[in-house]
């Protein structure tokens, strides 16, 4: 009984930490994005609210919270609101299986810095990831706007196409690790002294493409394509509801998929890897904190890379995206899978 209470308390603390980190970081990533975009475009970005705009996310949030609640004529209210729940919940739930660092001991209790280490972690991530398609389809349908409908259909088409690609792309690292648990995959990479990106470059590139596509980032942001569809499926949403969709899509999902990419390809919390030889840790002086810093560093670098792409490239057309997925990406992942199956026994030794 006592063990259960302790477990419950630890779990609740973990949930709180995850929520705070995800929503807080998500909010501040908007500021980061605006700053990065601004400097790429030779502007200073937000400067007025707080020192260098540091309070800007709060001001934005406050503004969104005090907007009028509008609902489009002839729409479907229940589905309209359900879409929002369906968007937020699965995207955030993914963080339950992301390992932020190695197991550590605090007050005599062994704690894994993840909510729960289920043995089907990766499968869970992609199962939850494909839930996004429901939220988007519902949002577009319930809004009763043609722009919303077209935007949601486009996004649904992209997710449908890239869901297949991403599942086949991650099979490579899973074969090498031989487990679906996210924690164990990282542990395996450390044990084998190998980041899987060295053996899976194709899978990594495909994964990155699929990640951009699933999160609706440039060059795949056809669902919002402001020049054609105004803002796509969120066109009839207002206030905090409008704020949440981009938050979920552009920040929380990018964050979670970046974290998964780090777990699968970049060795999780491990420091810089020299293939088959070992690891090099320039941050050794941080002691036990170093793995956490490495993890955050890798995720944020990936995130910055996504931003960098976002503010450089034009966008594809929807049919080109879908065709790329089926005609280029999917065959590539098949090739990669067979290749991995052949070389995998060499790694296990």
């Amino acid at each position: 009984m006592e063990g259960f209470v302790a477990w419950l308390i630890i779990t609740l603390i973990k949930i709180l930490v995850i929520l705070a980190v995800v929503l807080g970081v998500g909010a501040y990533l908007t500021l980061l994005e605006r700053k990065v975009a601004a400097h790429i475009q030779r502007r200073p970005g937000p400067m007025v609210v707080g020192w260098h705009g540091l309070l800007q996310p709060l001001a934005d949030g406050l503004k969104l919270l005090t907007k009028e609640d509008l609902f489009p004529r002839y729409g479907n209210k229940f589905l309209y609101n359900l879409a929002l729940v369906m968007a937020l919940v699965p995207a955030t739930l993914v963080f339950a299986v992301i390992p932020f660092g190695p197991e550590f001991e605090l007050f005599g209790i062994k704690i894994k810095p993840m909510l729960t280490d289920v043995n089907i972690g990766i499968l869970l991530v992609f199962a939850l990831g494909s839930m996004a398609v429901f939220s988007i389809a519902l949002a577009g349908w319930a809004s009763n706007s043609k722009y919303a409908l077209i935007g949601s259909m486009r996004k649904a088409g992209i997710i449908v196409s890239y869901e297949v690609v991403i599942t086949f792309a991650v099979m490579g690292p899973i074969i090498l690790a031989g487990t679906l648990s996210t924690y164990d995959i990282v542990q395996k990479q450390i044990d084998q002294k190998l980041w899987y990106i060295w053996l899976q470059p194709i899978a990594f590139v495909v994964y990155m493409f699929a990640m951009l596509a699933e999160t609706g980032r440039v060059p795949f942001d056809v669902q919002e394509a402001e020049a054609e569809l105004v803002t796509g499926f969120t066109v009839e949403y207002g206030g905090m509801k409008f704020g949440l969709f981009p938050l979920v899509e552009w920040y929380i999902e990018v964050l979670s998929l970046s974290a998964i990419a780090v777990v699968l390809f970049l060795g999780g919390w491990s420091p810089i890897n020299i293939p088959f030889l070992g690891f090099l840790d320039p941050l050794f002086f941080l002691g036990p904190l170093s793995p956490f810093v490495w993890f955050i560093l890798k995720v944020s670098l990936l995130f910055l890379f996504v931003l960098w792409l976002h503010w450089t490239l034009p966008r594809y057309r929807i049919d080109q995206i879908a065709e790329t997925a089926w005609k280029v990406m999917l065959p590539l992942t098949f090739v990669n899978l067979v290749f991995t199956a052949i070389i995998a026994p060499l790694i296990w030794r």
Binding site: L12, L65, L84, D117, S145, V160, V164, L180, M240
Partner: protein
Amino acid sequence: MGYIALLIFLFILIGLALVFVFVNKLLGPKSSDALQDYPYECGVPLYDKSAQSTFHQGYYLLGLLLLLFDIEAAFLFPWTVVYRYLGIFGFIEMALFILILTYGLVYAWRKGALNWQFEEESL
């Protein structure tokens, strides 16, 4: 145990999402304007009142393909985990499986299911 934690997290998240759904109703101002809930269509009268009609998108085939390939993927996942214990037999079986998958893809490709719908129709 691990799944119970997930369940707790799920409920907390649903609660949070509901807060976000209703927060604007509580905090936002209320105004009444005859056209404020008019669906957005660039400021002109709607041609058809409802947008919830049939919508030909060419995704239907993609959806079918997704079903097929995702189920195949679901078969492959357990295989990836236990591949190291299966040896050469596993490899051959998997290669056959992927070959069939590839054949399915090629079939769909040849049939034009992967082309965008409008290009096909103009043929």
